[in-house]
Symmetry: C2
Subunit: 290 residues, 2 copies
């Protein structure tokens, strides 16, 4: 805390000096060299993986404000300089045009293409946004004996469109998207404590559902928890309740539904995240100052 200046990002992260970050850099280099275009799940373990959104400057202020207003769903980890593909806070030297395995290109809010490199479409008015992702707290949950079922099943987490509008910013609004992980009520205090200490990875749960023979969640407007809008179905066991977190698909929905829609936007392809130089523990807050 006191040894030297720490003026940047007290939350959501603080970089340590004693971390070997070469595994993250190696992963990004593999993407850059065209040697890897798969899912990043389980890759470069321990390093923070992140959602990516790229927008023209004309839309960037209002998207940044959208993220600040809806920071549970859109925890900002880094914003690039206008025209620069380098996320200098979370991965100095990285290049957002090449260092992800797969990208999605959105034209006027419609998905247009999936590509493995965006160097050709990059413009000097582009701004890159790096947003936290729940992988960071899933690892922490597993370390404390609370591995989420989707991790145990090696499937994607269940994600649902809700009926709750986000807080609007300029053209961006859309409804909140949530992820769901089932837990017994007795585990909830620990689940809340652990995930709340990762505000840069969506933080604590936003809602807990009820034990229910025909699982649904009327508060969030989810008719059937067995039919997720994104990801895979994850069964809710006897005596478990569905626990919901704000989800990083939310900004993608905000871009799809933006009015006016941005003429172009680029995101990571689902599961094909940006691997940052940060380790999960550096995103953890509320620890004793050290």
């Amino acid at each position: 805390m006191m040894s030297g200046l720490h003026t940047a990002y007290p939350f959501p992260f603080k970089k340590r000096d004693d971390v070997d970050r070469s595994a993250a850099q190696a992963m990004r280099n593999e993407c850059r060299n065209g040697g890897f275009s798969g899912s990043t799940s389980g890759r470069a373990p321990g390093f923070v993986q992140a959602n990516l959104v790229i927008l023209p400057k004309e839309f960037a202020l209002e998207f940044a404000t959208f993220c600040l207003r809806n920071s549970r769903a859109c925890p900002l980890l880094d914003v690039t300089e206008v025209g620069s593909p380098e996320p200098s806070m979370v991965a100095p030297g990285a290049d957002l045009r090449t260092d992800l395995p797969k990208y999605r290109i959105w034209i006027n809010g419609k998905l247009e293409a999936e590509v493995t490199d965006i160097t050709d479409v990059w413009r000097n008015d582009f701004v890159g946004f790096v947003l936290g992702c729940s992988f960071s707290f899933e690892a922490a949950l597993a370390r404390e004996g609370l591995e989420p079922r989707n991790v145990t099943m090696k499937s994607n987490v269940s994600m649902y469109r809700t009926t709750h509008p986000n807080i609007k910013s300029g053209p961006f609004e859309g409804n909140l998207v949530v992820s769901m992980r089932p837990y017994p009520p007795s585990s909830l205090p620990d689940v809340i404590r652990i995930t709340s200490s990762f505000p840069g990875a969506h933080g604590g749960p936003i809602y807990k559902g009820k034990t229910d023979a025909t699982p649904h969640c009327s508060f969030l407007g989810i008719g059937n928890l067995g039919l997720p809008d994104f990801g895979d179905p994850v069964p809710i066991g006897e005596g478990e309740i569905p626990v919901f977190w704000a989800c990083g698909v939310t900004p993608q929905v905000a871009i799809e539904t933006a009015a006016p829609a941005p003429p172009i936007a680029i995101t990571h392809a689902p599961g094909h995240m940006f691997v940052t130089d940060l380790v999960d523990d550096e995103m953890r807050v509320g620890q004793p100052p050290g």
Copy 2:
């Protein structure tokens, strides 16, 4: 934590339902009606007072990013919609054009005028930024028997220009400005704990100096602690050390030194802050989820 949705601003604040916010509203109304143009120090006690920066949209993205990169000095509490004077997150219904007692108008980075109302100069491309201020943690320190000396003396805190450049964003850089409060080393753990729980009010200290017969701080580039660049001199007692925090004058220096300078910028006049609807405790983090 779990009763309903909390998707906005998990940090730096969370609004409670049971707070009577009429004293803050009354203070703002007095400013709006021209009935008050003095310092807000000690007014509407318990409510979060904030720094204000208003910039044209053309400069707003890069200023927002400047704040995110230098969040110790520039803790963002709210950003308005383009053209809107309403800081809807921290004070719904308030009007940034009238609700502060005094403003400064900066033309091309030079201080041009002090006025009590900016309705006449408001433009529909203006964006308002509301930034936290250390008043919030000073009250918390006092409640735990650690009242800062500047509060005891009823003077302004000592503030200094340092030689440490901020992290640049577009045209904004400048050097960090710090405030100083003297404490005996034995009080430091409590001082760190208390102030660190207010990241929205600059958070914990960024540096501690040495006990020194001729007080200076070479690390920060401060030649004589008895001659602050802003505010009043505050004596450092026998056996005390100077403790430094990032200071809300930093963004003002970044605007003065911006290259290119914004053609127009508006800030609060020193000590004439914006009184928000938030109470100090709502900015506190790291409490048990409730």
